[in-house]
Amino acid sequence: MTGADIMVKCLEKEGVKDIFGYPGVAIAPFYESVRASKINAVLVRTEQSAAHAASGYTRINKEIPGVCAVTSGPGATNLITGIATAFADSIPLICITGQVKSELMGGDVFQEADITGACESFVKYSYLIRDVDDIPRVFKEAFHVANTGRKGPVLIDVPIDIQQADVRRFNYPDEVNMRTYKPTVKGNMVQINKVISELEKAKRPLIYAGGGVLLSDAGDKLEEFAAKHNIPVVSTMMGIGVIPTEHPLYFGMVGNNGKAYANRAVAECDVLIVVGARVADRAVNQPDLITKDKVMIHIDVDPAEIGKNAGPSIPLVGDASYIFDDLLVKDYEADYGEWIEILDGYRERLREKEKESKDYVDAPAFIRALSKSMKDDSVYVADVGQNQMWSCANVIIRDGRFLTTGGMGTMGYSIPAAMGAKLADKSRQVVAVCGDGSFQMSMCELATIRQNKLPVKIIVFNNGYLGLVRQFQHFNYAGNYSVVDLSGNPDLEKLSSAYDIPFIRVHNNTEVDDAIKKFLKNDEAYLMECIIDPMAVV
């Protein structure tokens, strides 16, 4: 057996069935061992997609971290944006990189990059394996670290000679023993009682849910808690779908791209329960002032998150799922009916007006129609740009998932993430929605979709511009557009036929319903292009 065989055995022990990657000399021994195993390796068309695909995979699989494996040097550096994206959204990944021979390291040899050094500020932890006997312990620790506490990517850099080294035996440790890593999952009872007593006194409480709720799979418990006490819920972008978007207690996404009535709710509530959210600048204006007129309860598994951007009145460290378990067994009397009525009024009054557009597809109306027609448990992946803002504001999520990159805002995320999501659960419908800019950042993955027969559905909002930047320039630079014109776009019909993927182009609203029917009908890959008004703004 070799070190590479051990690496693959470790993955098997962790239950890994699929990995995403791009081989090269420095990771060749590993891929040779993968070939001889039952693990399915998907060849992406650029390394960044490997990390995004692994991200989409684990967000749907929920059990094990997504795994990607690439070669040293440029392979590893190409992976960096994907790792940073996962880190910003706390997505558990195992990123394996090949490295040059141990004895050559530090000599600036061919395809050498100090990848553990380069990634230091956006991995949860990283390992550079110097001894082949460390492989089982490192893998055991890596999977544990990535998938517990505040989740995140873990990088394992393995020099080629370590992969080739002979090993006698394989012993996978049963448990990890790390004296420096013991995340708190159960909330402190004193704090939990304080939360209940604040809620008892409250007149206008509000739950503000972030991606952390989904990461700890606590959406159902949050919904149960909100429904039990009649507490309204708003979400961050990463939290969309924590409870069904059409739930009467759901009041939309907060933030400068969110719903006016959601922001109004945050401004006027007297007790704000922030769960699994970092309260960043995009979501809340002046987060440091949030506690001046309200009690803020901050629930997060990462103690460093609490008080980082906004000072909480009641910090509560723990995993959202455990905390809602504890909160759910507590009973108290309170009536927030009046507050809900006020919010219902805001929702009615501040609802955006429907825009009529005859010559183009109206993106918001299209997204509502599309997500309404999608299956209840389907996965909607939004990319970055105007498409993301329109998606966040209009998507209807019932029992399904809304995936996007909220923290980093990495263009090109949707197609590889959708591939990963589909591979994680083939029974679910998966739709990636991107703009013409973000589509072209990942369109090489059409080949991966074709090769692996992944029935991923892709929608491209084509407005011939980097729309969100153009819009920004429109409002902030007196309409002087600089380097946002995408007039070199390919003909998407020809492009999809080159990849043997069925195609439909939608020119205006009247064509939308029929097109969506066709698009969603079969479980097959499909590309739909929507012609959007080039001057449309979010």
């Binding site: 553990t116 230091e120 932890y125 790390m178 004296r179 420096t180 103690p303 460093a304 008080g307 980082k308």
Partner: protein, 160 residues
């Protein structure tokens, strides 16, 4: 506000850069940083002196605790600790100022540990304030080189 962080870390390669990188990335100040092995060879102790407002001080401790190589973080104010810094100064002297230099050393409890006909190395171990003061006192003498370890600190026995 000034704070001293006494940080026990795993004695592994790369840990220093991880901890130092954390400070630069999050825009925390480092006034001084000193590292050395403890009585357990697997554990190193880093003494970091930093300053910032209340939120920053709290964040530094939390972010340090979050690092997987960090075993334990102790934070204390200067007056709750005994702090020392070792300094070596090489000066160029002449017969006019030689006596002055020696007198200054006497007053400040510094010792001359090496000497030639033109140069001497002075060693001083004291609080960072007094080592700085000593540099000021040598103003009239031409200082060739200064090496300081940075502050080492332990919490006072009475605070345990």
């Amino acid at each position: 506000m000034k704070r001293i962080y006494s940080v026990l870390v795993e004695n592994r390669s790369g840990v220093l850069s991880k901890v130092a990188g954390l400070f630069s990335r999050r825009c925390f100040n480092i006034d001084s940083l000193a590292v050395g092995e403890t009585n357990d060879p697997h554990v190193s102790c880093m003494t970091i002196v930093s300053s910032g407002d209340k939120r920053t001080i709290e964040q530094i401790e939390k972010q340090l605790n979050k690092k997987l190589d960090v075993i334990k973080v102790k934070t204390f104010e200067e007056n709750a600790s005994i702090s020392r810094e070792l300094m070596l100064i090489k000066v160029k002297y002449n017969k006019n100022n030689r006596r002055d230099v020696m007198e200054n050393c006497d007053i400040m409890g510094a010792s001359i540990v090496d000497m030639s006909k033109t140069h001497m190395i002075i060693q001083m171990c004291d609080t960072p304030e007094r080592t700085s003061l000593f540099i000021n006192m040598l103003n009239g003498v031409s200082i060739v080189e200064v090496a300081r370890t940075g502050c080492l600190a332990l919490q006072k026995c009475s605070e345990e």
